[in-house]
């Protein structure tokens, strides 16, 4: 057989590696910033872009899509070429992919900082960026499949399966969850409302964790771990079962983010069952990773890369044990809305994704620069600082979450709630301090790595095109033993794509179709009316400032929540909420029934200076709301968009909406004036007060009537 000469493209890998390091540091810095702002509110700077509600989406998006995203591409571009014994399909597509992704990240950061957000967690980016993401993702797909199709290795190694499943599922999730109706160039409304929006969002949110943070990294594990340990994976059989079980089950588990909410019960139960089952394939993967090192633990002591990989896989095991536990209703009742969840996701992000990325970087850079790592000792220091950082981060957050949740639920003997909400916040401030110390250590470790790798690169010389040779694929592939149908799938990437898609699509369709299909799943409540134009504008401000990052709008049917916040939330109350704003974390109290709780003047003073109304509050102040005018020019378009989405405003209301808006705003201005508070009626704070005063009022004092 004729041996073919070719070369691997290291340049794209190098660029993705640089981007991984850069955005990793940026994402961690923003995270550290807001971690400190949580116990030192002046750090919000009284400036819109640096307030928590806008910084938090920047942090999550930077870490997930910029740091881990570039990490995925770095690892895939390196390993795919070698597993296929072929150069990437097209250098041009590689280039478009790289720069396209970085532009998306830049525009994401800019738009999030300036308050352009859809208000759906981890899918905050507005519609033009959503389209750009789709295009770049397609470019990545063509490049990947092109490479697979022209490969010189007949078998598709299991890592490639994970890459294919990642690609197809992320495409599906992104497209379905991003259905939105543009109102202007940077504003859109989610196509779905209320319960349906929540279900789609957490189907997306959960599977973003599964198929963006987990499956591609499992692919990397199956390549880089055997590579670094210089031995094949413990059980290749297990990896096959692991793969199919994982991708099929993951897709169902989304509703565990919505336990005890207004989501129909059957959907919640479905989510629980599949979440619990997930532990089997997850641990299958973890054990497969760890057992690969059996008899080679002496190497782990020597080799920094292996140290990082071992801790990463261990953290994966912990997080995937915890996940099913958290989806049990009784555990969820305590953990949800608390810092427990923050701890859980950071074990995953810092441990699994972070450490695996570091391991891969330490492995890749010296090889691509044809040299040795500058300092193994520094890498060891990074390892220890990082590990201690994770521990100092996670333990206080578990503690804080558990403590606060227990305090929320405590009653006195007289049957009164024992603690004010604010008391439960001030109680856990020391934990927030400790968390930020853990974060600082982790960031320091990452900086040490950047220095170490910089010195490594300076000492070596970059091999842009790594020469390689391999025989082309024979026309007829020799068969070992009996040919089997799975071989038919496994040799053919297109079949692989189709089968993976079927596996994930079935779960998605089944979970969602009934909610959309059966009207009785969302009981309509006759007293629930659409928002007035002023409230709608106020709601958009609420979304813009990221209030949902700290305030939920979902009262669960628990004694303490009903006592604290009022009647529990009903599915029918959210039918006009495009997007839903249930939130996932209660750093502040729930707002589902905020309407009428306090006078307008309280909100006016509170938004200006929260500490003046609630001493000890850690909420940022929002001075710009008192200066900015309500954007009334957008009102007609917004009303029309809502009508398109099925909100029953009367015919032609769009043109009358601003008159109603001004009327209502004037009413609030007058009520404020009676309390000696001066404001013009067209300021944003007026719209926000109107929205807050509306929240949860529709069914107050009304019988819940099913139509």
């Amino acid at each position: 057989m004729q041996i073919e000469q070719f070369s691997y493209d290291n340049k794209t890998v190098k660029w993705f590696a640089f981007a991984t390091m850069l955005w990793g540091i940026v994402g961690m810095l923003v995270g550290l910033w807001i971690a400190i702002a949580m116990y030192y509110p002046p750090l919000n700077l009284g400036f819109a872009p640096t307030t928590f509600g806008r910084m938090r989406p920047v942090h999550t998006n930077a870490v997930i899509f910029a740091f881990v995203g570039n990490g995925i591409f770095m690892g895939v571009y390196y390993s795919l070429q070698r597993l296929c014994k072929a150069r990437m399909f097209s250098d041009l597509l590689s280039k478009i992919h790289f720069w396209g992704w970085q532009l998306i990240i830049l525009s994401a950061a800019l738009t999030l900082w300036t308050g352009h957000t859809t208000g759906k967690e981890y899918a905050e980016l507005e519609w033009p960026i959503d389209i750009a993401i789709t295009l770049v993702w397609v470019v990545f797909g063509i490049n990947m499949f092109g490479t697979i199709l022209k490969r010189r290795e007949s078998h598709l190694y299991v890592a490639i399966w994970f890459y294919i499943a990642t690609w197809v599922t992320v495409a599906m999730l992104h497209i379905v969850n991003s259905f939105e109706l543009p109102v202007s160039i940077l504003k859109s409304y989610s196509w779905y409302a209320g319960v349906q929006d929540a279900l789609v969002q957490w189907w997306y949110g959960h599977n973003a964790v599964a198929f963006f943070l987990t499956t591609p990294y499992l692919g990397l594990m199956y390549y880089f771990l055997p590579k670094a340990a210089n031995r094949p994976v413990y059980s290749y059989r297990l990896s096959i079962i692991h793969f199919w079980a994982l991708i099929f089950m993951y897709i169902w588990a989304g509703p565990h983010h919505l336990l005890y909410t207004a989501l129909p019960d059957w959907a919640q139960s479905l989510g629980v069952v599949f979440s619990v089952m997930l532990i089997a394939p997850s641990w299958g993967g973890m054990l497969n990773g760890l057992f690969t090192l059996r008899g080679a633990w002496d190497k782990v002591r020597e080799e920094p890369v292996l140290k990082f990989l071992v801790v990463a896989i261990t953290c994966y095991g912990m997080a995937t044990f915890e996940g099913p536990m958290l989806s049990l209703k009784s555990v969820n009742a305590i953990a949800h809305f608390s810092d427990w969840i923050i701890a859980h996701v950071h074990v995953g992000a810092l441990g699994w994704n972070g450490f695996l990325t570091f391991g891969v970087l330490y492995w890749l850079i010296p090889r691509m620069y044809n040299t040795q790592l500058y300092s193994k000792k520094l890498a060891g220091t990074h390892f220890w600082i990082g590990t201690i950082g994770i521990i100092l981060y996670a333990i206080p957050m578990y503690w804080a979450g558990f403590t606060q949740s227990m305090m929320w639920k405590q009653f006195t003997e007289e049957g009164q709630l024992k603690f004010q909400f604010l008391e439960t916040v001030t109680h856990i401030i020391p934990m927030y301090v400790s968390r930020s110390i853990g974060g600082t250590l982790y960031l320091t470790g990452a900086l040490i790595m950047v220095y170490n790798l910089y010195k490594t690169m300076a000492a070596g010389s970059f091999v842009a095109n790594e020469e390689a040779e391999a025989a082309p694929l024979p026309k007829v592939i020799p068969v070992h033993g009996k040919e089997h149908w799975h071989r038919w799938v496994e040799k053919r990437p297109v079949q692989m794509l189709v089968f993976s898609f079927i596996a994930v699509a079935i779960g998605g369709i089944l979970e969602m179709v009934p909610t959309f299909l059966i009207k009785s799943n969302i009981p309509t409540i006759s007293s629930v009316k659409p928002y007035t134009p002023l409230e709608l504008q106020g709601r958009d401000i609420y979304v813009r400032e990221g209030c949902y990052t700290c305030h939920s709008q979902m009262i669960r049917p628990f004694r303490d929540e009903v006592a604290r916040y009022g009647e529990y939330s009903k599915a029918g109350e959210f039918v006009y909420d495009h997007p839903f704003q249930w939130g996932s974390k209660r750093t502040g109290p729930d707002l589902a029934r905020e309407g009428g709780k306090y006078p307008d003047s309280w909100h006016f003073n509170h938004m200006m200076d929260p500490q003046s109304m609630s001493p000890g509050s850690i909420m940022p102040s929002y001075p710009w709301l008192y200066e900015n005018n309500i954007d009334t020019s957008s009102t007609p378009a917004k009303i029309r968009a809502m009508q398109t989405l099925g909100v029953p405003y009367e015919e032609g209301y769009a043109n009358k909406a601003n008159a109603d808006l001004m009327n209502q705003a004037n009413g609030i201005r007058v009520s404020l004036k009676m309390e000696k508070l001066e404001t013009a009626k067209d300021k944003e704070i007026v719209a926000l007060i109107a929205y807050l005063q509306r929240l949860g009022k529709d069914i107050k004092g009304e019988q819940t009537a099913q139509k």
């Binding site: 597993l83 190694y157 390549y223 094949p232 079980a245 149908w485 779960g507 009207k519 099925g646």
Partner: protein, 59 residues
């Protein structure tokens, strides 16, 4: 234009549940059977793919 209208017309939606359960079970059992029956040499060979690279700079 409400989203709900597009799907309301699907008849016999229960077939989704049955179908998916069947597909999953068959697929899963098939994979189990295959993995345990598969040729040992083949599995061995595939699992060594990452290591077989003739990396010129480092092996």
């Amino acid at each position: 234009m409400k989203f709900i209208n597009y799907l309301e017309s699907i008849a016999g939606v229960s077939i989704y549940g049955l179908g998916s359960l069947l597909i999953f079970s068959v697929l899963f059992l098939g994979i189990l059977v295959w993995t345990f029956k598969a040729d040992k040499k083949l599995i061995e060979e595939i699992s060594r793919i990452p290591l077989d690279n003739n990396n010129p700079t480092h092996s």
